[in-house]
Symmetry: D2
């Protein structure tokens, strides 16, 4: 707060930062607009049903220099802002269980991976709106203590297709977008223009806000409260572009949410309305640099979730190949 | 046991099945023969240090039909033979923790993934011989209750390179290799011949014994006791071929071991002597079919382990792209 | 099966062993007969609401020789029959996390404690019949992914009162009761007579079948299928005696169940109808010996469950003091 | 900090608060002074070896009003200061796994219980000084990835004996002792005098500093940095009194430690030198009130740790009976 700002200035700035408020009614209209219920023969897979051999072929055709970049945050066993449920990592053997040779070191990993601390994929069972999952399935009836009957990560399988990185730090020429900054549909168009890339039908789209550069320089904060991300007005555009996967270094949603009473509207529009899986909390710092170095923002993209029947998602380590 | 067999016949059969016994002295000579200690500037990464852009480019050049095949067994929460420490999968939210919209379904996963039940990658910290990890690092000093300082899975990074499937059910024209059946160096050469493929320097090599076809048809057994796999005499050949990754539908080792007092000799030669990570317990049934259908046994191969600092490996879901 | 037995003989034996079949209608009448809904001002605590200072005073008055006996099975990390979800026990520090002095050894414990492998207490949220918990609370509405709002173990608190051991191996003069053997109401009366003990209002009642002596001598079996325990006809008697806690070396229910379609009728009658917590899987071998040595079957009894808000029970280590 | 205090005043206050510094040499002399190595035939049980029937009889003789008080903090699944590794509590069944009746609610609990957030018992394997556990056992050789061969919680068994509460909020007539406040040997004598109680040989001793009253009124802080507790000069007095168990609403150690380079000197003197188990993080608020109400500070005390072979301790819910 500079010395000359007033409280009203700040409110105006906040509004400018987060974009226009969207009423619940407007949100519901957006929901109807982008909805693809009934579109897929295997609705548990949603948009990934349409990821086929042609996508893999096109993806492979984008490989020229062979540079590979992975995007998983380190397994984070330290609680703190944004990591209320730290991952577990325990050594279960240090060469003493089996005899005599070889001796084996083994470890246990455990994680409640949704949230803000683990790079992960959201399957279609993760998000329900008004009690309904994608395609109108009742969340209460299909997701129980034994897991998800509908929309499990196993139903998704794996992902091999082209992806586009929209690096908004390049568009805005800032080291990072401030938490709370909304990316608008017009920004997506501007980013395509500036980066010289165009989202194609069937692509994955990754959003870089510079989240982890900011975190490394300024320290950790809790992105549940304040995070750069997409304003809901981006979703009709992304629906039109017929994408298969959306991800970012946040969790795609700008926070605070532009829609009162709905904390994650992009999650709802993507997962519940469009059947579009999300990738949350990707470390896109190296990818941003690679795209700059390679001079292009479209590349082969591979996501290999764990095969967890009934799982609502999976920790993942996505890979770009240039 | 057919009615005309004698106990002596059976013993002879068992010996034939498992291949010749290898004394500890002979094993130690093999160890010295294939050892690559000092070869890599980042010994924690071992053979993966040498996986670079050229491998990714060559891998992508193998993509023609775009068929993708993944290889992870389902997350197995049911204890039984070969799964003494079943994986955990608990629902941590069923739409009740956060209010009001959307409601979220979330789950916790946990696993002590080494063993015979989880498709996983072994990093170089996993196996020590005579107290030493790869490159001579002391296991006791470098792997402690806080994890592996040397040879962690994070040091490996990810893998994008060509892979060859050696499908020994095709070579032997059997639905599967019987547990205990040793694959010999000469079998590898014969498989290359029969399958029309040649392992190139830099490749991953996958071994299909039909393990999971047998399991599906005959039921589960504990492969710790009896499993088809490589006889140690394969390792000088694979060392000569300069491969970067070895995996299979078992854990690469034939069991019982041909070397008395050493339960996993291939693990030692690969990981500890050669710095070669292993992939254990892959479901290669679909891959075998795909290779047959595609008419080729070499393809793009991607492995994306979780980024677990200090981890001795990771559950993975490897992907072949044809 | 002796050589002269026929299949009909076996069926008759099984019927004799397990006691008479009880129809669902008869079961529902029993339910109504023993039901105490509305009796307690804090129905989450059920029968433990009535455990007060007088019980502790009487319990202490039973202490004469000072012999103490505890009853918890060892934490069982080995999967097997009756232990499908083995407990976790991992070392989380071996003197390396904190510097410099002292060095600390630490461990993680984890367990899904219901089942047959862990000595544990069942709180009133554990068992629902026709969707209802004790006092008519809806299980679906009050027990969710965040835990039990009604009938949690924290609502129970701790237990200090007299307990009676009914040692049926003494009554029947056998080393153990065979799995499947039903204990009948008349057996309880006979045991009181033979052991010279009488269940008083406010007591805990412990049932010894010799389960763990049999297990140690004959090996582990899965008591889900076959277990000595109480026939439902015991419950009106126990209700009349106004007991506060029921436990045993099985889980109180004879298995197979005498009531078709209801796998744990004693659980329902105790927990759901009577508001009576249960103690399952206690090792009563030492207690049986102590009662014999002390010449009495009533003693001070202390149960100290973990304070788990929303928990459906707790692993425990109950203590008898003579 | 009152407006008239200076920085020098504060430093003097801090020194006064924490008591005199104790050099490492003085600490080592204290260690030798209170050491009981060689005293017990079962050194894994240490001071609990001496807890026998007479202690239970005397404990029971203290029961007059029958008031019972338990001391376990609630299972804390929320990370925060002092709770970096929050406990796990997941529902594993909500009535859907077993069919048809009854339906069962089940849960998983998991915890790395040492630290400041869980009421727990420290067994003798928990603390090593200069690499040695109690009785001179090598920590490195006896505590490994498979658990503690020496000094496990199972070796301790259970505890039934008299206990004395030393309520220092009464002695100092304050609602709580400020974090950092050292309790001195002379304070113990003064507390005995003021409370009208005398620690007898064989007793447990509980120290109330009002920790949790302060936490409830002022909020959570991390007691690793600042906590009221015993100055090391208390330990010769407690050794002389021949106590069997020491516990408190902190972890017995005043923090910061009076001995540079030794973060938990009371832990060392109690566990490693004296073979005296500790109870950490007990909620003593209700007990303090009960002692005041009952007009006495000595009572029956029962601790029933879980039976974890190889465990370094256990979460517990200790019970006082008046």
């Amino acid at each position: 707060m500079s010395p000359h700002e007033t409280v009203d200035d700040l409110a105006a700035e906040a509004a400018a930062l987060g974009g226009p408020t969207v009423s619940q009614q407007e949100f519901d209209e957006l929901f109807e607009q982008v909805k693809t219920w009934g579109k897929y023969s295997n609705p548990s897979a949603g948009a990934w049903e349409a990821v086929g051999p042609a996508a893999a072929i096109e993806a492979a055709s984008l490989v020229r220099t062979g540079t590979t970049v992975s995007m998983a945050l380190p397994w984070n066993t330290t609680s703190g802002p944004g990591n209320a449920n730290p991952a577990l990592h325990y050594m279960t053997d240090l060469g003493v269980r089996e005899a005599p040779e070889p001796s084996c070191n083994k470890d246990f990993i455990g994680v409640d991976y949704h949230g803000k601390a683990v790079s992960h994929l959201d399957a279609l069972s993760h998000i329900a709106y008004k009690g309904q999952l994608y395609n109108g399935n009742s969340s209460r009836d299909t997701v129980t203590a034994v897991g998800a009957e509908f929309g499990s990560v196993t139903a998704l399988g794996t992902f091999v297709a082209p992806a586009v990185l929209l690096d908004f730090t390049v568009l805005f020429d800032e080291p990072w977008l401030e938490p709370g900054k909304a990316i608008r549909a017009s920004d997506i168009l501007a980013a395509e223009e500036k980066l010289g890339v165009k989202i194609q039908p069937g692509d994955a789209v990754l959003i870089r806000s510079g989240h982890f550069r900011r975190q490394r320089e300024w320290g950790v904060w809790d992105p549940s409260n304040s995070s750069a991300g997409l304003h809901v007005d981006c979703m009709p555009l992304l629906a039109e572009r017929d994408i298969r996967l959306l991800g970012g270094d946040g969790d795609s949603d700008v926070r605070p949410s532009p829609t009162p009473g709905i904390h994650s509207p992009v999650h709802i529009l993507a997962i519940t309305a469009m059947g579009l899986p999300l990738l949350d909390n990707l470390d896109l710092e190296a990818l941003g640099q690679a795209c700059k170095d390679e001079g292009r923002y479209r590349f082969m993209f591979v996501v290999a979730p764990l095969n967890i029947p009934g799982g609502t998602g999976s920790p993942v380590n996505p890979i770009a190949v240039f």
